[in-house]
Symmetry: C2
Subunit: 464 residues, 2 copies
């Protein structure tokens, strides 16, 4: 059995915790594992890591690679050069498997959902596998937990096979009234975007129902290298696999899934899966709550206090705060879109950015300067680099810094500082176990992350 | 006519904007003047600055002095060495005036209230003055704007004099039902803590009704110096002027006041006085509001977003966030008290602290280090100082720094840095108009504000 993990989504509905460049699947909300990591670990119980293929896009490649590398020895990860919805992502991944001679059953899963009962999920997958081997394309329909208007539905009234139901129809996201009717009837399931099929069966379905994708796919040859070239990939239509295949194919079967699934698609969903106190509140981080009911108070840095709140979501991050009525959490996307429109970067990145060697936090910035705290993990090493437009000044706060500057090496202890002039090659490393923290003061007229020329990098961020 | 401004309160109900060390009277909420400054300016329209006496306590002395000095040439400011409620503060101030030979009518006002119509207020004061000259102790009763349970009430049904009403009784803070009865009857007024009397009349009232205060007062002699000695002041009972005098004296008269008064004693009161948009929202700072109603969204630093909120107060400061139902804003004090109890310093100070020369913001801190941004105003000058337990490292971000270190002078431009070793005398100044910003990295085992020995200070913070 093979698996494809779709890890290319860019979350807006969990803003301000999720950002365009740090989407939902990468988040660790009240856990030590991200949704992506949990997804991977769930599959590892069934499938060997050399048979699990993840696909993301260039924007998230670094972060996805870092997370997968923390749990797998040599995770296979493809990078899409453009965001094109699910059909191209799945199609390219299937072509990859076929090119590598792996024509077998393939499980396709999103990377940003939660499933509480892994065992129950595995059972459903094994059942689906039998159907997939018979030539069916399996879609896993979730038993609705309420009249959700945010999902598509699958109408399925009759049994088709031992473990499967006949698919009568795929339904678009309904309005509340229709959703209520669906749930009441008992014949509708949520479309969760989890699928299973034989690779060659899927390819045949593409040939029949999505000829443009099928034809473009013939230009890819993964027997030679694993790169997805932009010029080829860009010819793909941006279309979901539901529109492209599922709604058209005849050999579809629905395997119902009732394993504590949630797509955590809103703050309210996050509230729902968390443990509540006696007043129905969920509190994460440094919080103070007085006479609140059924509310969610989340602090990632600062003290967050709630007084007399009812059904309120309150989320604090280092650069943005959200307060939202629980039944309006779907509208958080509107704030995200508005920020994008007015070019407020708070939709895009956090002030804290994770890197393979650790992380940095922007402390403050103004005309001509920018101050960061840089935290380098044990034995972490920033690339050998230079900047065309900025000088830097480093002050060690704690730990020990190994600095290379213009081919000379320096060991700096707390309180020591060093100047990095414009255009001079330099690197920063932490030779020891103790975390290294430094303050970096950047000076220059053009202070952007992109002003970086990398010469050497232990995390493979320099192309040979 | 003389005036006494009571500027010693320490606010808890406007947390997180007010702190124990930065109380309500010092705040500038959506204005360029603080409540204290507005109070002083209101009095200046009637009274010469040499006849206005302010009294605060040692904790707030520096900040109060800085604010008053920005609007008066030579403001008179007494400093209480302990916090003892209003009766001792007013009594000592009256003794000060008498010792300086100033026996005339005295207006007593809190420093943390707002009065919209200064002209209307002045008219009431001039009327009260006439009564005070006749030997009455005037209390200004506010016409109630609703059944507030947070104030004491004055029962006053009959006319006593041209501008005054007979005071039947002072009433404690009532419950809601009683407050509603009071307001309906039309014979009750809010006790706003604004008074007027002849200095000698007040002294006589003390002698009669508060003998302990009167006796202790005889030990003070302001003809010699203006210091309030702790050993003497500490003998004073901590009691309000209402309990000590007003509720007992017979020569009390109520001059009603209807001039747009508010004590801004809660976030809801702040909401009420601000201009609202068509949905009844008040937005201050960087905010994003979607489908909110009758809410108050306040950002002092970061982006604050509200979605679907109704009757919610949302306040962001650099180190704490509050979300509160509008009718529960009186309970914010409970959060403040809780923080005090668990020794969370967020009740005490802000991460941004104002000083006569500018301000500093704590950017981050950890074991053995603390990083600040220091901002020095045009021609500002930090005291010549040294530290016993910490070294400092300064990096100039913008502007020009004049540094004195061990009797040598240095001029530092952006990007330059300098080390300040432990125990070495140093000072930092801004010789020019452009604001000076530096990053200060402190290193040491004991990093506290109190580790400072001052040798010279242009703001009088070094005692001769």
């Amino acid at each position: 059995m093979y698996a494809i993990i779709l890890a290319g989504g860019s979350g807006s509905r969990l803003w301000p915790l999720s950002r365009e460049l740090y989407p939902k699947q990468l988040l660790k909300i009240n856990t030590d594992k991200s949704l992506l990591e949990m997804t991977y670990l769930r599959l590892l119980k069934m499938i060997d890591e050399k048979n699990i293929l993840s696909i993301t896009n260039t924007k998230h490649f670094g972060d996805v690679k870092t997370q997968l590398s923390s749990i797998a020895h040599n995770p296979i990860l493809l990078s899409e050069p453009a965001q094109k919805n699910t059909a191209p992502a799945i199609s390219v991944s299937v072509k990859y498997l076929l090119d590598k001679g792996k024509d077998d059953t393939v499980l396709v899963v999103p990377s940003d959902h939660i499933i509480k009962d892994d065992k129950c999920f595995a059972d459903a997958v094994y059942n689906a596998q039998k159907l997939a081997e018979e030539g069916y394309i399996v879609t896993f329909g979730i038993k609705p937990q309420g009249p959700e208007t945010g999902y598509g539905y699958i109408k399925s009234s009759k049994k088709l096979k031992d473990f499967g139901l006949k698919v009568d129809e795929f339904k678009e996201k309904p309005d509340l009234k229709t959703a209520q009717k669906y749930v009441k009837s008992g014949n509708y399931y949520w479309n969760a975007g989890i699928f299973m099929f034989k690779a060659s069966v899927f390819m045949e379905a593409l040939k029949q129902h999505a000829k443009d994708i099928y034809d473009t796919l013939q230009e890819f040859d993964f027997t030679k290298n694993d790169n997805i070239e932009f010029t080829k990939f860009d010819k793909m239509p941006a279309i979901s696999v539901d529109y492209a295949i599922m709604e058209k194919a005849k050999n579809i079967v629905n395997v119902p899934l009732d394993c504590g699934w949630s797509d955590l698609g809103s703050w309210d969903a996050i509230y729902e899966i968390n443990k509540k106190d006696k007043d129905g509140n969920v509190k994460i981080g440094t919080t103070q709550v007085q006479e609140c009911k059924n509310s969610f108070v989340y602090s990632s840095n600062r003290l967050v206090a709630g007084v007399g709140l009812e059904d309120i979501i309150l989320v604090e991050t280092s650069d943005a705060i959200l307060a939202c009525k629980r039944d309006k959490t779907q509208d958080v996307k509107k704030v995200f879109d508005k920020l994008k429109e007015i070019k407020d970067e708070t939709h895009l990145v956090h002030t804290t950015v994770y890197r393979p060697w650790g992380y940095y936090t922007v402390l403050n910035q103004g005309k001509g300067y920018l101050t960061k705290m840089i935290c380098v993990s044990a034995h972490g090493q920033l690339s050998l680099q230079s900047h065309n437009f900025r000088s830097e000044h480093w002050v060690v706060l704690s730990g020990t810094a190994r600095v290379t500057l213009d081919n000379k090496n320096y060991i700096l202890k707390p309180g020591s500082s060093i100047d990095i002039p414009v255009k001079v090659k330099h690197s920063l490393g932490n030779p020891y176990e103790e975390e290294l923290k430094i303050i970096e003061v950047q000076k220059g007229d053009k202070l952007v992350e992109e002003d970086i020329i990398r010469y050497k990098d232990i995390y493979g961020r320099v192309k040979a």
